[in-house]
Protein backbone atom coordinates (compact mmCIF):
# COMPACT_ATOMS: atom_id res chain seq x y z
CA UNK A 1 0.00 0.00 0.00
CA UNK A 2 1.74 3.12 -1.14
CA UNK A 3 0.20 6.44 -0.14
CA UNK A 4 0.49 9.22 -2.65
CA UNK A 5 2.97 11.80 -1.44
CA UNK A 6 1.07 14.30 0.67
CA UNK A 7 1.18 17.95 -0.15
CA UNK A 8 2.07 19.96 2.90
CA UNK A 9 -0.50 22.53 3.84
CA UNK A 10 0.52 25.91 5.14
CA UNK A 11 0.43 25.86 8.93
CA UNK A 12 -2.55 27.85 10.09
CA UNK A 13 -3.33 28.64 13.69
CA UNK A 14 -6.59 26.77 13.79
CA UNK A 15 -8.71 26.81 16.92
CA UNK A 16 -8.67 23.68 19.02
CA UNK A 17 -11.68 21.48 18.56
CA UNK A 18 -11.64 20.31 22.17
CA UNK A 19 -11.63 22.34 25.37
CA UNK A 20 -8.19 22.30 27.00
CA UNK A 21 -9.55 21.35 30.41
CA UNK A 22 -10.10 17.64 29.85
CA UNK A 23 -11.19 15.50 32.82
CA UNK A 24 -7.64 14.24 33.19
CA UNK A 25 -6.41 17.78 33.59
CA UNK A 26 -9.00 18.60 36.18
CA UNK A 27 -8.06 15.56 38.19
CA UNK A 28 -4.44 16.59 38.08
CA UNK A 29 -5.35 20.02 39.38
CA UNK A 30 -7.15 18.49 42.31
CA UNK A 31 -4.23 16.20 43.10
CA UNK A 32 -1.89 19.17 42.92
CA UNK A 33 -4.06 21.02 45.39
CA UNK A 34 -3.86 18.12 47.83
CA UNK A 35 -0.10 18.07 47.50
CA UNK A 36 0.17 21.78 48.06
CA UNK A 37 -2.39 22.10 50.83
CA UNK A 38 -0.15 21.43 53.85
CA UNK A 39 2.48 23.85 52.66
CA UNK A 40 0.04 26.55 51.67
CA UNK A 41 -1.85 26.27 54.92
CA UNK A 42 1.18 26.80 57.11
CA UNK A 43 2.72 29.29 54.73
CA UNK A 44 -0.28 31.55 54.52
CA UNK A 45 -1.07 31.28 58.20
CA UNK A 46 2.40 31.64 59.66
CA UNK A 47 4.29 33.74 57.18
CA UNK A 48 2.11 35.73 54.82
CA UNK A 49 -0.66 36.61 57.24
CA UNK A 50 1.70 37.66 60.06
CA UNK A 51 3.63 39.81 57.64
CA UNK A 52 0.56 41.83 56.84
CA UNK A 53 -0.59 41.76 60.41
CA UNK A 54 2.78 43.23 61.30
CA UNK A 55 2.08 46.14 59.02
CA UNK A 56 -1.31 46.48 60.62
CA UNK A 57 0.13 46.45 64.12
CA UNK A 58 2.70 49.08 63.19
CA UNK A 59 -0.14 51.45 62.47
CA UNK A 60 -1.44 51.16 66.03
CA UNK A 61 -0.40 51.91 69.53
CA UNK A 62 -0.25 48.29 70.57
CA UNK A 63 0.60 47.15 74.03
CA UNK A 64 2.24 43.79 74.63
CA UNK A 65 0.06 42.70 77.48
CA UNK A 66 -2.81 45.07 77.88
CA UNK A 67 -5.60 44.26 75.41
CA UNK A 68 -7.30 47.59 75.90
CA UNK A 69 -4.46 49.61 74.47
CA UNK A 70 -4.92 49.01 70.72
CA UNK A 71 -5.47 52.46 69.32
CA UNK A 72 -5.26 53.34 65.66
CA UNK A 73 -2.36 55.71 65.11
CA UNK A 74 -1.89 55.70 61.36
CA UNK A 75 1.66 56.65 60.53
CA UNK A 76 2.44 58.11 63.94
CA UNK A 77 4.82 55.31 64.79
CA UNK A 78 6.72 55.96 61.61
CA UNK A 79 7.01 59.67 62.17
CA UNK A 80 8.16 58.97 65.71
CA UNK A 81 10.68 56.59 64.24
CA UNK A 82 11.98 59.22 61.91
CA UNK A 83 12.60 61.53 64.81
CA UNK A 84 13.97 58.88 67.13
CA UNK A 85 17.71 59.31 67.76
CA UNK A 86 18.01 55.81 69.17
CA UNK A 87 16.55 54.36 65.97
CA UNK A 88 19.14 56.19 63.96
CA UNK A 89 21.85 55.10 66.33
CA UNK A 90 20.70 51.53 65.98
CA UNK A 91 20.66 51.90 62.21
CA UNK A 92 24.15 53.36 62.18
CA UNK A 93 25.35 50.59 64.46
CA UNK A 94 23.82 47.93 62.26
CA UNK A 95 25.29 49.46 59.13
CA UNK A 96 28.64 49.71 60.87
CA UNK A 97 28.45 46.07 61.80
CA UNK A 98 27.49 45.08 58.28
CA UNK A 99 30.33 47.16 56.85
CA UNK A 100 32.79 45.51 59.23
CA UNK A 101 31.54 41.98 58.85
CA UNK A 102 30.43 41.44 55.28
CA UNK A 103 33.64 42.28 53.41
CA UNK A 104 35.85 40.53 55.94
CA UNK A 105 33.61 37.47 56.01
CA UNK A 106 33.60 37.25 52.23
CA UNK A 107 37.35 37.63 51.92
CA UNK A 108 38.09 35.30 54.79
CA UNK A 109 35.76 32.57 53.57
CA UNK A 110 37.24 32.81 50.08
CA UNK A 111 40.79 32.59 51.42
CA UNK A 112 39.93 29.64 53.60
CA UNK A 113 38.13 27.94 50.72
CA UNK A 114 41.20 28.37 48.53
CA UNK A 115 43.36 27.08 51.33
CA UNK A 116 41.38 23.91 51.96
CA UNK A 117 40.32 23.05 48.44
CA UNK A 118 42.26 20.17 47.10
CA UNK A 119 43.17 16.81 48.45
CA UNK A 120 45.05 15.55 51.42
CA UNK A 121 44.30 14.56 54.94
CA UNK A 122 45.48 17.79 56.49
CA UNK A 123 43.28 19.90 54.27
CA UNK A 124 40.29 17.67 55.00
CA UNK A 125 40.77 18.06 58.75
CA UNK A 126 41.12 21.84 58.40
CA UNK A 127 37.96 21.87 56.31
CA UNK A 128 36.08 20.09 59.05
CA UNK A 129 37.33 22.50 61.67
CA UNK A 130 36.31 25.60 59.74
CA UNK A 131 32.91 24.16 59.00
CA UNK A 132 32.30 22.94 62.50
CA UNK A 133 32.23 26.32 64.12
CA UNK A 134 29.14 27.14 62.08
CA UNK A 135 27.22 24.33 63.59
CA UNK A 136 27.18 25.68 67.13
CA UNK A 137 24.22 27.68 68.30
CA UNK A 138 24.53 31.41 68.88
CA UNK A 139 24.39 30.95 72.62
CA UNK A 140 27.30 28.52 72.64
CA UNK A 141 29.32 30.82 70.44
CA UNK A 142 28.65 33.88 72.57
CA UNK A 143 29.50 31.93 75.68
CA UNK A 144 32.80 30.84 74.22
CA UNK A 145 33.79 34.25 72.95
CA UNK A 146 32.63 36.18 75.97
CA UNK A 147 35.00 33.97 77.90
CA UNK A 148 37.79 34.32 75.37
CA UNK A 149 37.55 38.09 75.31
CA UNK A 150 37.13 38.46 79.05
CA UNK A 151 39.69 40.74 80.69
CA UNK A 152 40.32 38.73 83.80
CA UNK A 153 39.52 35.22 82.69
CA UNK A 154 40.00 35.17 78.99
CA UNK A 155 42.40 33.66 76.51
CA UNK A 156 43.64 36.89 75.04
CA UNK A 157 44.19 38.87 78.22
CA UNK A 158 47.08 36.67 79.47
CA UNK A 159 48.80 37.09 76.09
CA UNK A 160 48.63 40.86 76.48
CA UNK A 161 49.97 40.61 80.00
CA UNK A 162 52.79 38.34 78.93
CA UNK A 163 53.80 40.94 76.36
CA UNK A 164 53.75 43.63 79.00
CA UNK A 165 50.58 45.39 77.87
CA UNK A 166 47.42 46.23 79.70
CA UNK A 167 44.69 43.85 78.49
CA UNK A 168 41.95 45.54 76.50
CA UNK A 169 38.40 45.28 77.78
CA UNK A 170 37.06 44.28 74.41
CA UNK A 171 33.41 44.01 75.23
CA UNK A 172 33.36 47.04 77.41
CA UNK A 173 35.25 49.41 75.17
CA UNK A 174 33.34 51.74 72.88
CA UNK A 175 35.90 51.27 70.13
CA UNK A 176 36.39 47.55 70.45
CA UNK A 177 32.89 46.31 71.27
CA UNK A 178 31.53 46.16 67.73
CA UNK A 179 34.73 44.75 66.21
CA UNK A 180 34.63 42.08 68.90
CA UNK A 181 31.15 41.13 67.76
CA UNK A 182 32.49 41.01 64.23
CA UNK A 183 35.31 38.67 65.16
CA UNK A 184 32.87 36.42 66.97
CA UNK A 185 30.57 36.43 63.97
CA UNK A 186 33.44 35.66 61.63
CA UNK A 187 34.46 32.65 63.67
CA UNK A 188 30.89 31.52 63.82
CA UNK A 189 29.75 32.18 60.29
CA UNK A 190 32.64 31.38 57.93
CA UNK A 191 31.44 27.82 57.36
CA UNK A 192 28.55 28.40 54.98
CA UNK A 193 30.18 30.89 52.59
CA UNK A 194 33.32 28.79 52.64
CA UNK A 195 31.28 25.75 51.62
CA UNK A 196 29.68 27.76 48.84
CA UNK A 197 33.07 28.85 47.57
CA UNK A 198 34.38 25.31 47.82
CA UNK A 199 31.53 24.11 45.66
CA UNK A 200 32.18 26.85 43.13
CA UNK A 201 35.92 26.18 43.08
CA UNK A 202 35.27 22.51 42.58
CA UNK A 203 33.08 23.25 39.60
CA UNK A 204 35.83 24.98 37.66
CA UNK A 205 36.83 22.54 34.94
CA UNK A 206 40.28 21.14 35.42
CA UNK A 207 41.13 21.79 31.82
CA UNK A 208 41.22 25.52 32.44
CA UNK A 209 44.01 25.10 34.96
CA UNK A 210 45.82 22.61 32.78
CA UNK A 211 45.70 24.96 29.81
CA UNK A 212 47.00 27.77 32.00
CA UNK A 213 49.79 25.53 33.20
CA UNK A 214 50.80 24.85 29.64
CA UNK A 215 50.64 28.59 29.04
CA UNK A 216 53.18 29.17 31.83
CA UNK A 217 50.75 31.21 33.90
CA UNK A 218 51.93 32.20 37.36
CA UNK A 219 49.89 31.39 40.42
CA UNK A 220 48.78 34.97 40.77
CA UNK A 221 47.66 35.21 37.14
CA UNK A 222 45.75 31.97 37.48
CA UNK A 223 43.94 33.35 40.48
CA UNK A 224 43.03 36.69 38.97
CA UNK A 225 42.26 35.65 35.41
CA UNK A 226 40.80 32.18 35.88
CA UNK A 227 39.67 31.40 39.41
CA UNK A 228 38.04 34.69 40.34
CA UNK A 229 36.02 35.18 37.15
CA UNK A 230 34.74 31.62 37.36
CA UNK A 231 33.31 32.13 40.82
CA UNK A 232 31.80 35.55 40.19
CA UNK A 233 28.27 34.29 40.64
CA UNK A 234 29.06 32.67 43.94
CA UNK A 235 30.74 35.86 45.06
CA UNK A 236 27.59 37.83 44.41
CA UNK A 237 25.51 35.16 46.11
CA UNK A 238 27.73 35.17 49.18
CA UNK A 239 27.62 38.95 49.39
CA UNK A 240 23.85 39.03 49.21
CA UNK A 241 23.44 36.28 51.76
CA UNK A 242 25.91 37.96 54.07
CA UNK A 243 24.30 41.36 53.86
CA UNK A 244 20.86 39.95 54.45
CA UNK A 245 22.15 37.76 57.25
CA UNK A 246 24.26 40.27 59.12
CA UNK A 247 21.55 42.89 59.09
CA UNK A 248 19.66 40.51 61.34
CA UNK A 249 22.30 40.33 64.05
CA UNK A 250 20.74 39.78 67.43
CA UNK A 251 22.17 37.05 69.63
CA UNK A 252 25.71 38.35 69.75
CA UNK A 253 24.57 41.89 70.52
CA UNK A 254 22.21 40.83 73.25
CA UNK A 255 24.26 38.20 75.00
CA UNK A 256 27.73 39.62 74.73
CA UNK A 257 27.23 43.32 75.23
CA UNK A 258 23.48 43.83 75.56
CA UNK A 259 23.66 46.82 73.30
CA UNK A 260 26.35 48.48 75.33
CA UNK A 261 28.56 50.14 76.17
CA UNK A 262 26.25 53.16 76.01
CA UNK A 263 24.30 51.83 73.08
CA UNK A 264 27.33 51.39 70.85
CA UNK A 265 26.31 47.86 69.93
CA UNK A 266 22.59 48.33 69.98
CA UNK A 267 21.56 46.80 66.69
CA UNK A 268 18.18 47.16 65.04
CA UNK A 269 16.86 43.73 65.97
CA UNK A 270 17.99 44.24 69.54
CA UNK A 271 16.19 47.55 69.57
CA UNK A 272 13.07 45.86 68.22
CA UNK A 273 13.27 43.21 70.91
CA UNK A 274 13.79 45.66 73.74
CA UNK A 275 11.04 47.95 72.50
CA UNK A 276 8.55 45.10 72.32
CA UNK A 277 9.46 42.98 75.29
CA UNK A 278 10.99 45.39 77.71
CA UNK A 279 9.06 48.55 76.93
CA UNK A 280 5.91 46.76 75.75
CA UNK A 281 5.52 49.05 72.73
CA UNK A 282 4.68 46.41 70.15
CA UNK A 283 3.28 48.86 67.60
CA UNK A 284 6.44 50.89 67.60
CA UNK A 285 8.57 47.77 67.50
CA UNK A 286 6.61 46.54 64.49
CA UNK A 287 7.35 49.79 62.73
CA UNK A 288 11.06 49.38 63.40
CA UNK A 289 10.84 45.80 62.13
CA UNK A 290 9.31 46.95 58.89
CA UNK A 291 11.88 49.67 58.50
CA UNK A 292 14.54 47.01 58.92
CA UNK A 293 12.85 44.79 56.37
CA UNK A 294 12.72 47.67 53.90
CA UNK A 295 16.41 48.36 54.38
CA UNK A 296 17.35 44.73 53.86
CA UNK A 297 15.17 44.46 50.81
CA UNK A 298 16.68 47.59 49.30
CA UNK A 299 20.21 46.42 49.89
CA UNK A 300 19.70 43.00 48.40
CA UNK A 301 17.95 44.42 45.35
CA UNK A 302 20.82 46.87 44.94
CA UNK A 303 23.28 44.06 45.25
CA UNK A 304 21.43 41.94 42.70
CA UNK A 305 21.22 44.82 40.29
CA UNK A 306 24.90 45.61 40.63
CA UNK A 307 25.73 41.97 40.22
CA UNK A 308 23.72 41.76 37.05
CA UNK A 309 25.28 44.96 35.76
CA UNK A 310 28.69 43.45 36.33
CA UNK A 311 27.68 40.43 34.28
CA UNK A 312 26.65 42.42 31.29
CA UNK A 313 29.86 44.43 31.13
Amino acid sequence: MTAAPQVRTLPLAEPRTRAPRSPARRREGLTAFLFLAPFLAVYLLFLIYPFFKGIWISLHDWDLMDDSIREWWGFLNYSDLWADPIFWQATRNTLYFVALTVPSMTVLSLLLALAVSGGGRVRAVCRTIFLMSSVFSVTVVTLIWTMVLSTDRGLIAPVFQALGFEPINFLGSPTWAMPSLTVTTLWWGVGLPMALFLAALGAIPRELYEAAELDHASRWTVFWRITLPSIRHTLVLVLILQIVGQFQIFGQAQLMTNGGPSGMTRTLVLYIYDTAFRDWLVGYAAAIALALFAMMFLFSMLQLWLGRRGEES
Partner: protein
Protein backbone atom coordinates in the same frame (compact mmCIF):
# COMPACT_ATOMS: atom_id res chain seq x y z
CA UNK B 1 68.23 21.84 36.74
CA UNK B 2 65.92 23.31 34.10
CA UNK B 3 63.91 26.42 34.77
CA UNK B 4 60.72 24.44 34.79
CA UNK B 5 62.10 22.00 37.29
CA UNK B 6 63.21 24.74 39.68
CA UNK B 7 59.82 26.34 39.26
CA UNK B 8 58.03 23.15 40.15
CA UNK B 9 60.41 22.53 43.02
CA UNK B 10 59.71 26.00 44.38
CA UNK B 11 56.02 25.39 43.79
CA UNK B 12 56.11 22.34 45.96
CA UNK B 13 57.63 24.27 48.84
CA UNK B 14 55.11 27.08 48.52
CA UNK B 15 52.38 24.47 48.57
CA UNK B 16 53.77 22.90 51.70
CA UNK B 17 54.09 26.29 53.34
CA UNK B 18 50.49 27.13 52.54
CA UNK B 19 49.27 23.88 54.00
CA UNK B 20 51.31 24.48 57.13
CA UNK B 21 49.92 27.98 57.53
CA UNK B 22 46.40 26.69 57.01
CA UNK B 23 46.95 24.02 59.62
CA UNK B 24 48.20 26.64 62.04
CA UNK B 25 45.14 28.80 61.43
CA UNK B 26 42.92 25.76 61.95
CA UNK B 27 44.68 25.05 65.21
CA UNK B 28 44.12 28.57 66.47
CA UNK B 29 40.58 28.33 65.20
CA UNK B 30 39.74 25.37 67.33
CA UNK B 31 41.63 26.61 70.35
CA UNK B 32 38.61 28.29 72.01
CA UNK B 33 36.64 25.05 71.76
CA UNK B 34 39.46 23.02 73.25
CA UNK B 35 39.81 25.58 76.02
CA UNK B 36 36.11 25.44 76.91
CA UNK B 37 36.23 21.66 76.83
CA UNK B 38 39.20 21.67 79.17
CA UNK B 39 37.49 24.07 81.56
CA UNK B 40 34.42 21.87 81.65
CA UNK B 41 36.54 19.05 83.00
CA UNK B 42 38.12 21.07 85.77
CA UNK B 43 36.60 21.71 89.18
CA UNK B 44 34.89 25.07 89.72
CA UNK B 45 37.20 26.09 92.54
CA UNK B 46 40.27 25.71 90.39
CA UNK B 47 38.67 27.83 87.70
CA UNK B 48 37.92 30.57 90.23
CA UNK B 49 41.61 31.08 90.56
CA UNK B 50 42.71 30.69 86.97
CA UNK B 51 41.06 29.72 83.72
CA UNK B 52 44.26 29.27 81.78
CA UNK B 53 45.26 25.89 80.43
CA UNK B 54 44.24 23.60 77.62
CA UNK B 55 44.74 20.34 79.40
CA UNK B 56 42.16 19.39 81.98
CA UNK B 57 44.25 18.85 85.07
CA UNK B 58 43.06 18.44 87.73
CA UNK B 59 40.42 16.33 86.02
CA UNK B 60 36.86 15.99 87.20
CA UNK B 61 33.57 14.82 85.80
CA UNK B 62 31.61 16.56 88.56
CA UNK B 63 30.42 19.35 86.32
CA UNK B 64 28.76 16.89 83.99
CA UNK B 65 27.31 14.81 86.75
CA UNK B 66 25.76 17.81 88.40
CA UNK B 67 24.22 18.71 85.06
CA UNK B 68 21.91 15.82 85.44
CA UNK B 69 21.32 16.13 89.12
CA UNK B 70 20.89 19.80 89.63
CA UNK B 71 20.33 21.74 86.47
CA UNK B 72 17.53 21.79 83.96
CA UNK B 73 19.85 20.99 81.08
CA UNK B 74 18.52 17.46 80.51
CA UNK B 75 15.00 18.82 80.36
CA UNK B 76 16.08 21.49 77.91
CA UNK B 77 17.85 18.87 75.84
CA UNK B 78 14.66 16.90 75.61
CA UNK B 79 12.71 19.96 74.50
CA UNK B 80 15.29 20.68 71.85
CA UNK B 81 15.19 17.10 70.67
CA UNK B 82 11.42 17.01 70.41
CA UNK B 83 11.22 20.33 68.63
CA UNK B 84 14.05 19.52 66.22
CA UNK B 85 12.78 16.07 65.32
CA UNK B 86 9.17 17.09 64.86
CA UNK B 87 10.11 20.15 62.87
CA UNK B 88 12.42 18.16 60.63
CA UNK B 89 9.82 15.54 59.87
CA UNK B 90 7.18 18.18 59.24
CA UNK B 91 9.42 20.20 56.95
CA UNK B 92 10.41 17.13 54.95
CA UNK B 93 6.80 16.04 54.46
CA UNK B 94 5.48 19.49 53.59
CA UNK B 95 8.38 20.47 51.37
CA UNK B 96 8.52 17.24 49.38
CA UNK B 97 4.79 17.26 48.71
CA UNK B 98 4.75 20.89 47.63
CA UNK B 99 8.04 20.57 45.79
CA UNK B 100 6.68 17.70 43.72
CA UNK B 101 3.55 19.65 42.87
CA UNK B 102 5.59 22.58 41.61
CA UNK B 103 8.00 20.37 39.76
CA UNK B 104 5.68 18.03 37.95
CA UNK B 105 1.99 18.78 38.28
CA UNK B 106 -0.07 21.15 36.24
CA UNK B 107 -2.61 23.29 38.00
CA UNK B 108 -4.23 26.69 37.72
CA UNK B 109 -2.38 29.72 39.12
CA UNK B 110 0.84 27.75 39.22
CA UNK B 111 2.96 30.72 38.26
CA UNK B 112 1.32 33.03 40.76
CA UNK B 113 1.75 30.58 43.59
CA UNK B 114 5.34 30.06 42.62
CA UNK B 115 6.08 33.76 42.74
CA UNK B 116 4.27 33.96 46.05
CA UNK B 117 6.48 31.23 47.41
CA UNK B 118 9.67 32.86 46.20
CA UNK B 119 8.53 36.15 47.69
CA UNK B 120 8.45 34.43 51.05
CA UNK B 121 12.17 33.85 50.79
CA UNK B 122 12.61 37.56 51.23
CA UNK B 123 10.70 37.79 54.49
CA UNK B 124 13.09 37.45 57.42
CA UNK B 125 11.91 36.06 60.72
CA UNK B 126 12.32 39.43 62.38
CA UNK B 127 9.55 40.89 60.25
CA UNK B 128 7.03 38.35 61.50
CA UNK B 129 8.06 37.32 64.97
CA UNK B 130 6.15 40.13 66.65
CA UNK B 131 2.79 39.54 65.00
CA UNK B 132 3.31 35.79 65.39
CA UNK B 133 3.89 36.36 69.07
CA UNK B 134 0.62 38.25 69.33
CA UNK B 135 -1.24 35.56 67.41
CA UNK B 136 0.06 32.80 69.58
CA UNK B 137 -0.64 34.81 72.71
CA UNK B 138 -4.23 35.26 71.57
CA UNK B 139 -4.56 31.52 71.06
CA UNK B 140 -2.85 30.84 74.35
CA UNK B 141 -0.31 28.44 72.91
CA UNK B 142 2.91 29.95 74.12
CA UNK B 143 5.18 27.72 76.15
CA UNK B 144 4.19 24.65 74.19
CA UNK B 145 6.14 22.49 71.79
CA UNK B 146 3.50 23.32 69.21
CA UNK B 147 4.41 26.98 69.20
CA UNK B 148 8.11 26.24 68.95
CA UNK B 149 7.62 24.00 65.93
CA UNK B 150 4.89 25.38 63.73
CA UNK B 151 6.07 28.80 62.57
CA UNK B 152 9.08 27.24 60.95
CA UNK B 153 7.43 24.44 59.04
CA UNK B 154 6.60 26.30 55.84
CA UNK B 155 10.03 27.14 54.54
CA UNK B 156 10.11 28.23 50.91
CA UNK B 157 13.74 27.20 50.65
CA UNK B 158 12.78 23.62 51.46
CA UNK B 159 10.12 23.55 48.79
CA UNK B 160 12.52 25.13 46.35
CA UNK B 161 15.21 22.56 47.03
CA UNK B 162 12.88 19.61 46.60
CA UNK B 163 11.40 21.15 43.49
CA UNK B 164 14.83 21.52 41.89
CA UNK B 165 15.60 17.94 42.74
CA UNK B 166 12.38 16.50 41.39
CA UNK B 167 12.80 18.50 38.19
CA UNK B 168 16.05 16.70 37.58
CA UNK B 169 14.46 13.25 37.61
CA UNK B 170 13.92 12.09 34.01
CA UNK B 171 10.35 12.55 32.95
CA UNK B 172 10.32 9.13 31.33
CA UNK B 173 10.43 7.47 34.71
CA UNK B 174 7.13 9.03 35.59
CA UNK B 175 5.68 8.30 32.17
CA UNK B 176 6.65 4.67 32.54
CA UNK B 177 5.01 4.62 35.97
CA UNK B 178 1.91 6.27 34.55
CA UNK B 179 1.68 3.55 31.95
CA UNK B 180 2.14 1.14 34.83
CA UNK B 181 -1.15 2.34 36.28
CA UNK B 182 0.44 4.23 39.12
CA UNK B 183 -1.60 7.05 40.61
CA UNK B 184 0.08 10.40 41.20
CA UNK B 185 0.47 9.63 44.84
CA UNK B 186 1.92 6.18 44.13
CA UNK B 187 4.43 7.78 41.78
CA UNK B 188 5.35 10.25 44.49
CA UNK B 189 5.52 7.74 47.28
CA UNK B 190 7.09 4.75 45.58
CA UNK B 191 9.32 6.35 43.02
CA UNK B 192 10.09 10.02 43.61
CA UNK B 193 10.65 9.87 47.34
CA UNK B 194 13.04 6.90 47.37
CA UNK B 195 15.01 8.59 44.60
CA UNK B 196 15.19 11.85 46.49
CA UNK B 197 16.85 10.43 49.59
CA UNK B 198 20.01 12.52 49.20
CA UNK B 199 18.02 15.75 48.90
CA UNK B 200 15.83 14.73 51.84
CA UNK B 201 18.85 13.97 53.95
CA UNK B 202 20.43 17.32 53.24
CA UNK B 203 17.22 19.22 53.85
CA UNK B 204 16.61 17.23 57.00
CA UNK B 205 20.07 17.97 58.33
CA UNK B 206 19.85 21.68 57.67
CA UNK B 207 16.41 21.83 59.23
CA UNK B 208 17.49 19.89 62.29
CA UNK B 209 20.49 22.10 62.90
CA UNK B 210 18.42 25.20 62.31
CA UNK B 211 15.73 24.01 64.69
CA UNK B 212 18.23 23.11 67.33
CA UNK B 213 20.03 26.46 67.16
CA UNK B 214 16.93 28.63 66.93
CA UNK B 215 17.18 31.50 69.42
CA UNK B 216 14.93 34.48 68.77
CA UNK B 217 11.62 32.68 68.51
CA UNK B 218 12.08 30.41 71.53
CA UNK B 219 13.25 33.47 73.43
CA UNK B 220 9.93 35.22 72.96
CA UNK B 221 7.68 32.20 72.98
CA UNK B 222 9.06 30.01 75.75
CA UNK B 223 9.02 32.09 78.89
CA UNK B 224 8.89 29.26 81.40
CA UNK B 225 12.25 27.78 82.22
CA UNK B 226 11.02 24.23 81.87
CA UNK B 227 10.02 24.87 78.26
CA UNK B 228 13.38 26.29 77.22
CA UNK B 229 15.28 24.65 74.46
CA UNK B 230 18.87 23.94 75.31
CA UNK B 231 20.01 26.85 73.13
CA UNK B 232 17.72 29.23 74.93
CA UNK B 233 18.61 27.82 78.29
CA UNK B 234 22.27 28.35 77.64
CA UNK B 235 21.52 31.96 76.82
CA UNK B 236 19.62 32.40 80.03
CA UNK B 237 22.45 31.23 82.25
CA UNK B 238 25.04 33.35 80.52
CA UNK B 239 23.82 36.49 82.17
CA UNK B 240 24.49 34.99 85.54
CA UNK B 241 27.88 33.67 84.88
CA UNK B 242 29.51 35.69 87.54
CA UNK B 243 27.36 33.94 90.10
CA UNK B 244 26.37 30.65 91.58
CA UNK B 245 26.55 28.25 88.66
CA UNK B 246 30.28 28.20 88.48
CA UNK B 247 32.40 28.36 85.41
CA UNK B 248 33.05 24.66 85.10
CA UNK B 249 29.37 23.81 85.23
CA UNK B 250 28.55 26.45 82.70
CA UNK B 251 31.20 25.19 80.32
CA UNK B 252 29.90 21.69 80.81
CA UNK B 253 26.41 22.88 79.88
CA UNK B 254 27.73 24.45 76.73
CA UNK B 255 29.62 21.33 75.74
CA UNK B 256 26.71 19.09 76.54
CA UNK B 257 24.31 21.26 74.57
CA UNK B 258 26.56 21.07 71.55
CA UNK B 259 27.34 17.37 71.52
CA UNK B 260 24.29 16.18 69.55
CA UNK B 261 24.77 18.76 66.85
CA UNK B 262 28.50 18.25 66.56
CA UNK B 263 28.08 14.49 66.36
CA UNK B 264 25.43 14.90 63.67
CA UNK B 265 27.73 17.23 61.82
CA UNK B 266 30.71 14.91 61.94
CA UNK B 267 28.69 11.96 60.70
CA UNK B 268 26.87 13.79 57.95
CA UNK B 269 29.43 16.37 56.96
CA UNK B 270 29.46 15.05 53.43
CA UNK B 271 25.75 15.66 52.97
CA UNK B 272 25.95 19.15 54.33
CA UNK B 273 28.68 20.11 51.90
CA UNK B 274 26.90 18.39 49.03
CA UNK B 275 23.68 20.14 49.94
CA UNK B 276 25.35 23.50 49.84
CA UNK B 277 26.76 22.67 46.43
CA UNK B 278 23.36 21.65 45.20
CA UNK B 279 21.60 24.77 46.39
CA UNK B 280 24.40 26.91 45.04
CA UNK B 281 23.34 25.65 41.64
CA UNK B 282 20.19 27.69 41.95
Amino acid sequence: MSAAATRSGARLWVDRLLVAVTALVALLWILPVVWVLAMSLKPNEVLQRSTWGFVPTPFTLDNYISLFRVSQVPRWLMNSAIVAVVMTVAVLVVSSLAGYAFARLRFPFKRTLFVLMIAGLMIPEQAVFLPLHQMFADWGVHNTHFSLVTPRVAVPIGVFLMMQFFRAVPKELEEAAELDHASRFTIFWKIMLPLSLPALTTLGLFTFIHAWNDFLWPLVSATRADMYTVTLGLGSIQGNFAQSLGLGSMMASAVFASIPIVVLFLIFQRYIVAGVAMSAGK
